[in-house]
């Protein structure tokens, strides 16, 4: 199979789906002429024209809301918020309109809206270009929220997202765009709500998603040399969430580390821990350990930034903690 980058896999997902479905449109700041500053939508304008690939004004609230209206009326819009930090601007339309309209309006509309939200930190982009808000949207019934990380999953799940009749917040990690992996040429889907076991192991379960899956794998490989056998789960989908896979794993390992890049307080890892407790308190030999970013606005200085973002070493430490006793 071909090895392509995340950027290319996302691009291909949109392109191929647009080829077979004329109702799919793409919009956001600079998605057309520039093909988005990260290059993710490159070439779409040339192939599909300005009626379907739309450079918007810097009007996040209204262009997301325009996506909501268009989705209600028969299009399948893919809206991009270039840095997910600014999804704040569109949050009213997402939370109070997209997520609720079908319910409020008696089931008479569908809302096949995808909001692509590049997220995560790295590179000294400071406090307004580094955040991860997945747990905000996890809190909102009516939404689906995913954060895949491999090129294969990103392509397959973006296609799933486009075809889904519900609003999907699609988190892409900005530092992943250059990463490569095997991706089939044809159209295929990867379902929501199914986690992937990236590595089987019997000593401890590491629950991860997006960039943390990469670091979890690194940590697991290194600890393997010390004879510690980690099972690494890549959730891929946050809402719906695959607790079955997580609990099956914990049944085996009886220990769990839950990771997120977002700052820890108020984050998704807490939700996962609380659910694990609900579902299997007695399975646990030690306390679940959470890994997350430090509770600070992201500093510009890259030394500080590195200190804030959890990585392989943080995860290793957490695993050792989970293995204690």
């Amino acid at each position: 199979m071909r090895n392509i980058t995340v950027r290319e896999s996302l691009n291909e997902a949109m392109r191929q789906e647009m080829e077979i479905d004329e109702t799919v449109i793409v919009m956001g700041c600079d998605v057309a002429i520039r093909g988005n500053p990260f290059g993710v939508t490159k070439g779409l304008l040339r192939q599909f024209g300005e009626k379907r690939v739309i450079d918007t004004p810097i009007s996040e609230a209204a262009f997301t809301g325009m996506g909501v209206g268009a989705a209600a009326m028969g299009l399948k819009p893919i809206v991009e918020i270039l840095y997910s930090d600014w999804i704040t601007l569109a949050s009213d339309q997402i939370v109070n309109m997209a997520a609720k309209m079908r319910y409020m309006f008696g089931g008479n509309i569908e809302m096949p809206l995808v909001v692509r939200a590049p997220f995560g930190a790295g590179g000294g982009n400071a406090a307004q270009h580094s955040q991860s808000f997945e747990n905000w949207f996890n809190h909102i019934p009516g939404l689906k929220v995913v954060a895949p990380i491999t090129p294969y999953d990103l392509k397959g799940m973006l296609i799933t997202a486009i075809r889904d009749k519900n609003p999907v917040i699609f988190f892409e990690h900005k530092r992943a765009y250059q990463m490569k992996g095997e991706v089939p040429e044809e159209l295929y889907t990867v379902p929501f709500g199914k986690a992937a076991i990236r590595r089987e192991g019997k000593d401890v379960t590491i629950v991860s998603y997006s960039m943390m899956s990469i670091h979890a794998m690194e940590a697991a490989e290194e600890l393997a040399e010390d004879g510690i056998d980690c099972e690494v789960i890549d959730l891929r989908s946050i809402l719906p969430m695959d607790y079955e896979t997580v609990m099956n794993s914990i049944e085996k390992t009886n220990r769990v580390v839950v990771t997120q890049e977002a700052n820890l307080r108020g984050g998704f890892a807490a939700d996962i821990v609380a659910e694990i407790i609900d579902r299997g308190f007695d399975l646990l030999d030690t306390a679940p350990v959470r890994v997350g970013g430090l509770n600070v606005p992201m500093p510009y200085n890259m030394g500080l930034e590195n200190y804030v973002i959890p990585g392989k070493e943080t995860i290793k430490k957490a695993i050792r903690k989970a293995l204690k006793d």
């Binding site: 449109i25 009007s59 209204a62």
Partner: protein
């Protein structure tokens, strides 16, 4: 017999125009305008009573005094055209041809209501008739309308979308963002501004320096006009022109239908904060009395005929109340998770 408008009112309400049907409008059409306006009036008068009697609950906003705007506007539309609404949606539903029974059932929170009891007054919607739903967040329907117009354009349906909004709504960021986008791309959407000069207890003039809101249109390069919002024909004519333009691919317009809120902000608002003496004379502009007067004076309909219509309306509303109160059912908790997601998917 003809209603006399006080000089004092006319001085303050400079956009007043006498009723005059457009060239060639048939009697039945004019009677339909009257019928719909009166139906809205009766519906919302009844809703107020029901609310005061604790039969319905939540936040309900009456469309009384604004009837000419929804009715005049929707009369310029084809059935497949769409409208977006505000928190004050009852009039929009009726004007778009909706069903008062289903609406009343919804206000009673019943399963047979438009929204299966999940939406209530503030989220009343009739999507099959192109009424894309009321919303309780001021301004939030603006981008929805633009999106609907975008869909119509891209799918080539030839439909237009009306975006109803209030003067209060004009100061939301999405108002600006939405009109700018619609203008930039010549989308088939008409922004109909229901300017009742009030937002709850806040007068427009205290929060905007330029109160002639139609003037903002020039900043976006689109036509902006102001019309007598108590005058159903004036509204109709202005909207018709804008609709024709939009359907022709010439893009959006802003129509400021200026009037005055005559009742409270919501059904139980006694308006202690407002000088009601100053409001009183404006009742002479009441769009329904004016219309009735016009029909009689111009011998378009006889008094008897109008009376019959009024009686039918009274009965229609009574039937709706009876239906909602006695024939409909409370939604069961089994329906709680229905329609959060499409196709019966349930995520708890």
């Amino acid at each position: 017999m003809s209603i006399k408008i006080d000089k004092e009112v006319l001085e303050k309400f400079t956009c007043y125009t006498p009723l005059k049907a457009p060239e060639g409008m048939k009697k039945e059409e004019q009677m339909k305008l009257f019928y719909r306006m009166k139906l809205i009036r009766e519906f919302d008068t009844t809703v107020k009573d029901l609310w005061m009697e604790n039969k319905i609950y939540g936040l309900a906003h009456s469309y009384v005094a604004a009837e000419a705007i929804a009715v005049g506007t929707c009369f310029a539309l084809k059935p497949d055209d769409a409208i977006t609404s505000t928190h004050r949606g009852h009039g929009h539903v009726i004007a778009k041809g909706g069903d008062v029974k289903k609406m009343m059932a919804e206000l009673f929170g019943k399963y047979e209501g438009y929204n299966h009891g999940k939406g209530g007054s503030m989220h009343i919607a009739d999507v099959p008739h192109g009424m894309l739903g009321a919303t309780g967040i001021v301004g939030s329907g603006m981008p929805l309308a633009v999106g609907s117009a975008l869909a119509a354009d891209r799918l080539g349906t030839g439909n237009v979308t009306i975006c109803f909004h209030g003067d209060g709504g004009t100061n939301q960021g999405v108002w600006h963002e939405s009109i700018n986008m619609a203008a930039a791309w010549n989308l088939p959407v008409i922004f109909v501004l229901e300017n009742n000069q009030m937002a709850i207890g806040t007068e427009l003039k205290s929060v905007s320096k330029e109160v002639e809101l139609y003037k903002r249109a020039a900043g976006y390069g689109i036509p902006g006009v102001q019309v007598d919002g108590f005058n159903v024909f004036a509204v109709y004519k202005a909207v018709k022109k804008a609709v024709d333009r939009a359907r022709n691919g010439e893009g959006p317009s802003l129509i400021e239908a200026k009037f005055l809120r005559l009742l409270g902000h919501f059904v139980a608002d006694d308006q202690w904060y407002r000088d009601l003496k100053a409001v009183e004379p404006f009742w002479k502009l009441d769009p329904i009395s004016r219309m009735k007067d016009y029909l009689l004076e111009n011998k378009i309909a006889a008094a008897k005929e109008i009376e019959r219509v009024e009686k039918d309306i009274t009965k229609e509303i009574l039937d709706a109340v009876n239906y909602a109160a006695n024939e409909c059912t409370e939604p069961s908790v089994e329906t709680l998770y229905d329609n959060i997601y499409a196709d019966g998917e349930i995520i708890k």
